[in-house]
């Protein structure tokens, strides 16, 4: 699936903007602050969650607007052959004028293959996310049935140097794309853990049978979380190991911090039981899958990611995300849309060319931003080039 049309209304810096991206690479260029990342953020809202900035919904409405916003898109299945219908470089008006004369493939926007999805908030209910799928009201979770979207943003540059929670969240997003039930287990695990922490805060009245019931829930869901992560790590590791040591840093993945024992569920349950005093004194639970860390190494150098240069760290993240996109495409039968914010600027020309070649050969829609067009010179002619300026986007 790719977006063949994206329209933004009162979203961030855009009062009203319409884009017609092609199914392959989509390049957004513009000055700093022109609103390139806002467009990526709009795309990222077409999956469950809070988007690539993790911002609150009311912050996304345009400041001079009425308080609501909407992001709408048309999804099309991938083209049956490379170089299929793509209105490259054509403005919207031209594209729609041309439409009747262009030979219509089975997946034309007017055909039955297209799906309209949209999300946003109403000015009257700014905290409630609205979702429409083909005109009917849907849930944010249902969006995940249509699209998976992965992103790499400059904010993730600190992933390897900051705390484990960021890396854990990053990896859990990758797991979630492979196993949607990961979210349910995580939510239940955390609810049980919060309840246990609350009981342990008053140790003199804590009922041991109640604690043990909560620990049973934590152990059950915690074991499922750990298993899903192990499966995802094994599959991703296999993909990464099979990659050539080419221009990209090949990443080695492993878990650090808390690790499940052989018999995860019963061992974790026993561990929690013996740790009641310690956790009660600490005011939180000190062991469990919420204390697992993701360790990344630069395989060719045999160096831990946190000791690599900024550029190498970026390349490591990129190699993980690309491998993951391949994995999801194989397993779920649909390639995730990639949002690569300011990625090209951090790569030298040879790595840039290699990245573009790899993205083009893998297929799938990839949105990239950069301050100048020169960064994207190595791109093939199929890419959609968009310029962002003054709260507007135009083709070319």
């Amino acid at each position: 699936m790719h977006l063949s049309r994206l329209s933004l209304t009162d979203f961030r810096s855009y009062a009203d903007a319409v884009l017609s991206p092609g199914p392959g690479l989509v390049v957004l260029t513009g000055e700093n602050g022109a609103g390139k990342t806002n467009i990526l953020e709009a795309v990222s809202l077409l999956t469950p969650g809070r988007g690539l900035r993790g911002a609150s919904l009311s912050d996304m409405a345009r400041q001079a607007g009425a308080g609501g916003f909407s992001v709408a898109a048309r999804l099309l299945p991938p083209p049956p052959f490379k170089g299929g219908d793509r209105g490259v470089g054509a403005s919207l008006e031209e594209a729609s004028l041309m439409a009747p004369t262009v030979p219509t493939p089975s997946h034309s926007p007017e055909g039955e293959g297209g799906i309209d999805i949209g999300t946003g908030i109403l000015a009257t209910a700014p905290e409630r996310r609205q979702v429409r799928i083909n005109g009917a009201t849907g849930s944010a979770t249902a969006l995940g049935e249509w699209l998976s979207i992965l992103w790499l943003t400059p904010a993730m540059d600190r992933l390897f140097t900051e705390g484990a929670s960021g890396r854990r969240r990053f990896f859990d997003r990758l797991v979630l794309a492979l196993e949607p039930s990961h979210a349910t287990h995580a939510a239940r695990y955390e609810a049980a853990m919060r309840a246990r922490n609350k009981l342990l805060a008053e140790p003199e009245t804590a009922d041991p049978a109640w604690l043990s019931a909560l620990e049973a829930g934590m152990a059950e869901h915690g074991a499922r979380i750990a298993e899903a992560r192990e499966r995802a790590l094994a599959m991703l590791g296999e993909r990464l190991a099979a990659q050539a040591d080419g221009p990209f840093a090949r990443a080695g993945l492993a878990f650090g911090g808390w690790r499940p024992a052989e018999d995860a569920e019963s061992a974790f349950r026993a561990e929690l039981k013996t740790a009641r005093g310690r956790d009660g004194a600490a005011g939180r639970t000190l062991a469990g899958p919420h204390r697992t860390d993701l360790l990344v190494t630069h395989l060719a150098k045999g160096q831990a990611a946190e000791h690599c240069s900024t550029g190498e760290q970026k390349a490591l993240l990129l190699s993980i995300i690309l491998a993951h996109a391949d994995l999801v495409a194989d397993r779920a039968g649909r390639r995730p849309i990639l949002l690569l914010d300011e990625v090209a600027a951090h790569l030298d020309p040879s790595r840039r060319t290699a990245l573009f070649a790899r993205l083009e050969s893998a297929g799938g829609q990839v949105w990239m931003t950069g301050t100048e067009r020169a960064l994207f010179e190595g791109l093939g002619g199929d890419a959609t080039l968009l310029t962002v300026a003054n709260g507007n986007v135009h083709h070319g």
Partner: protein, 198 residues
């Protein structure tokens, strides 16, 4: 504009679960128009229930007798006891006489975050019923929510020392359910709980 009395009736009905101001007005109009066939029998029925309303001191069911008609029913199997969270769960299970034994209503579920503790539920009474003896099996029929399952674990642990079989409702495929429409969590649970066909 209706008189204050009619308005008070409308407001009282509007607060009932499943009703709102609009349905309440419709109901009131119906009662006023059909005073003899609708209003008078309703009044008598309400009065009778209000008079005799009782909470069963054995199981916690709501009825007009104490012990309730289920506890007093000698055709039921006294060796089977089914524990539920709420009276509505008891009624759901008893609607078609699915369960041949007796019931026990907890009056809620454990929730550390909402401050619902074991002593707030009818748990000591349950233990006392089991401790008396004569019960072979306790069926824990809690909701499949985290809090429901925590409560079931808790009860299982408290009942461990008594010579009773403790069972739990199965989780998985609903009858008539299509795999295609099930969420992954339910499917995974159904797979884990698979069993031999013969």
């Amino acid at each position: 504009m209706a008189s204050p009395e009619i308005e008070a009736l409308t407001q009282a009905l509007a607060r009932l679960p499943g009703l709102g101001p609009r349905s309440a007005r419709r109901a009131v109009l119906h009662l006023l128009k059909k005073r003899e066939v609708a209003l008078a029998p309703l009044l008598r029925a309400l009065d009778a229930v209000n008079d005799k309303l009782a909470i069963c001191s054995t199981c916690g069911n709501v009825d007009t007798t104490d012990p309730c008609s289920i506890c007093a029913d000698t055709r039921r199997d006294p060796r089977l006891l089914c524990v539920v969270e709420e009276v509505s769960d008891l009624w759901a299970l008893d609607r078609s006489r699915l369960f041949p034994g007796h019931f026990h209503v907890l009056g809620g579920r454990l929730s550390a975050l909402e401050g619902i503790r074991p002593e707030d539920l009818s748990i000591d009474k349950l233990i006392a019923r089991v401790a008396v003896g004569g019960i072979d099996e306790v069926v824990l029929a809690m909701n499949a929510t985290l809090e429901g399952q925590t409560t079931a674990h808790y009860l299982a642990e408290r009942l461990e020392t008594y010579p009773v079989r403790i069972t739990q409702l199965a989780h998985g495929l609903p009858v008539g359910g299509e795999l295609d429409y099930l969420d992954e969590g339910t499917l995974a649970q159904a797979l884990r709980a698979r069993r031999p066909v013969v």
